[in-house]
Amino acid sequence: MGELEQSIMNTLWQAAMPLTSNEVRDRIGQQQKSTPAVTTVLTVLGRLHKKGFVIKNDSHRPHKFSATMTREEHSVQLLNDVLGSAVDKHAVLASFIGSIDPADAAKVQQMLNSKKK
């Protein structure tokens, strides 16, 4: 199901305009070997809507869907979580560099070089 979520978001990002569920399904079908059922697409769109990634315009039928933010904005949010200065960062995710001060990068490199000799 994660792959279909990605496909749907990619379709909406590429289109950069509101699409109906049928249009989303057709565009996915053009790019992939198999075309998902429109009911499946609607279910996943509903899930994406609940997660806050998709806006539904139901002012007239057929309902149209669009992404709440661009792929770039999406990336920025993600990077902010990882690289930003949020206090709870270490509680939420375990980064490889942990709490090592990036300013110590040169020091680590130096130690690595001296150990090689």
Partner: protein, 321 residues
């Protein structure tokens, strides 16, 4: 005597002990034992803090919480709540003291639940972001996807930053790396990174850290709680490094760390963000990786474990009995 001993213990564990532990050299030589001791310090500190005012308030009714509560319970059953509250044995500050103890217990428990809830919610939010942008590692490396564990997957983000981190979950955990990292590191270096993150997940370091984050949220004005969070985080990193070095070369792990730190340094310089810690964070971990301190002797490790046990058992016994 008991309430004063408990209050003193709570004070000592809240202030001087964490500072001393932070400065000590031996935790680098026995990170697992040090983590056990930190947990004992946290647990014992919390228990003593709650038990001290409770014991003080209940003193007129018996020795220890068990005896006093039984006495009050019998009184309640036989003569009703009003008699209990108006009993002449109460010290004027007795009921306020008990209220304080119960409030402290409530505050600590609620903060633990609240922090757990918020952390899981933030993780889920971040996982949703990752799920939409990332591809599987095999796909990104041009390999055909091999069977992957249903509980742990590795995903690649299409960004140039050098990123490597893991998102623990109840059923599904993920390790996240970036395209930039995959391009920059050699295969052995990348494997070392993945092994490090995998160690965090299998050893459930997230749960250890969660308790201390909650403790810090509950008592943020106490410097010791920030010290504890930092030390525990660093000790879990050292443990993950140790697990990695069982199957991977030290050079590869250090090189991967160096590359990632350098890239992050450039990112930090560019964005002008600054860390707010007073001491050099990560110094213990770097020292362990490069200097390889000799392990603590078994005898000393047993002393640490025994001390940890005593730290928790003694206040529990003297307050209850």
């Amino acid at each position: 005597m008991t309430p004063y001993v408990l209050a003193l213990l709570a004070f000592v564990l809240a202030w001087p002990v964490p500072i001393v532990l932070q400065k000590a050299k031996w935790p680098s030589r026995a990170p697992g034992a040090a983590l056990v001791l930190w947990q004992a310090v946290g647990l014992s500190g919390g228990l003593s803090l709650v038990a001290a005012p409770l014991c003080w308030g209940l003193q007129p009714f018996g020795t220890g919480l068990l005896g006093a509560t039984r006495e009050l319970w019998n009184l309640w059953i036989s003569q009703g709540a009003a008699t209990v509250l108006l009993d002449p044995r109460w010290h004027p500050l007795g009921l306020p003291a008990i209220t304080l103890g119960l409030l402290l217990f409530g505050h600590l428990s609620l903060m633990l639940f609240h922090t757990t809830f918020i952390t899981f919610r933030e993780r889920r939010r971040h996982k949703n972001y990752v799920a939409l942008l990332a591809a599987s590692l095999d796909g990104a490396q041009g390999k055909s996807p091999k069977h992957r564990s249903s509980t742990h997957s590795t995903l690649v983000l299409p960004v140039d930053h050098l990123l490597a981190y893991c998102l623990p979950g109840i059923n599904q955990s993920i390790t996240v790396v970036s395209q930039g990292l995959v391009r920059q590191l050699s295969q052995p270096q990348l494997s070392a990174v993945l092994a490090h993150e995998s160690a965090h997940l299998t050893q459930r370091h997230d749960l250890l850290r969660l308790a201390f984050h909650a403790w810090q949220k509950a008592v943020p004005w106490l410097p010791a709680t920030s010290v504890a969070v930092h030390e525990v985080t660093e000790l879990t990193e050292i443990l993950a490094d140790r697990s990695t070095l069982v199957h991977h070369e030290r050079q590869n792990l250090i090189a991967a760390l160096s590359h990632t730190l350098l890239a992050n340094k450039h990112a930090e310089d560019a964005s002008e963000t600054t860390t707010q810690q007073n001491h050099r964070p990560g110094a213990r971990r770097i020292s362990c990786l490069v200097n390889q301190p000799r392990p603590l002797s078994l005898g000393n490790i047993l002393v640490v474990f025994a001390s940890s046990l005593m730290l928790v058992i003694i206040p529990a016994i003297i307050s209850i009995v």
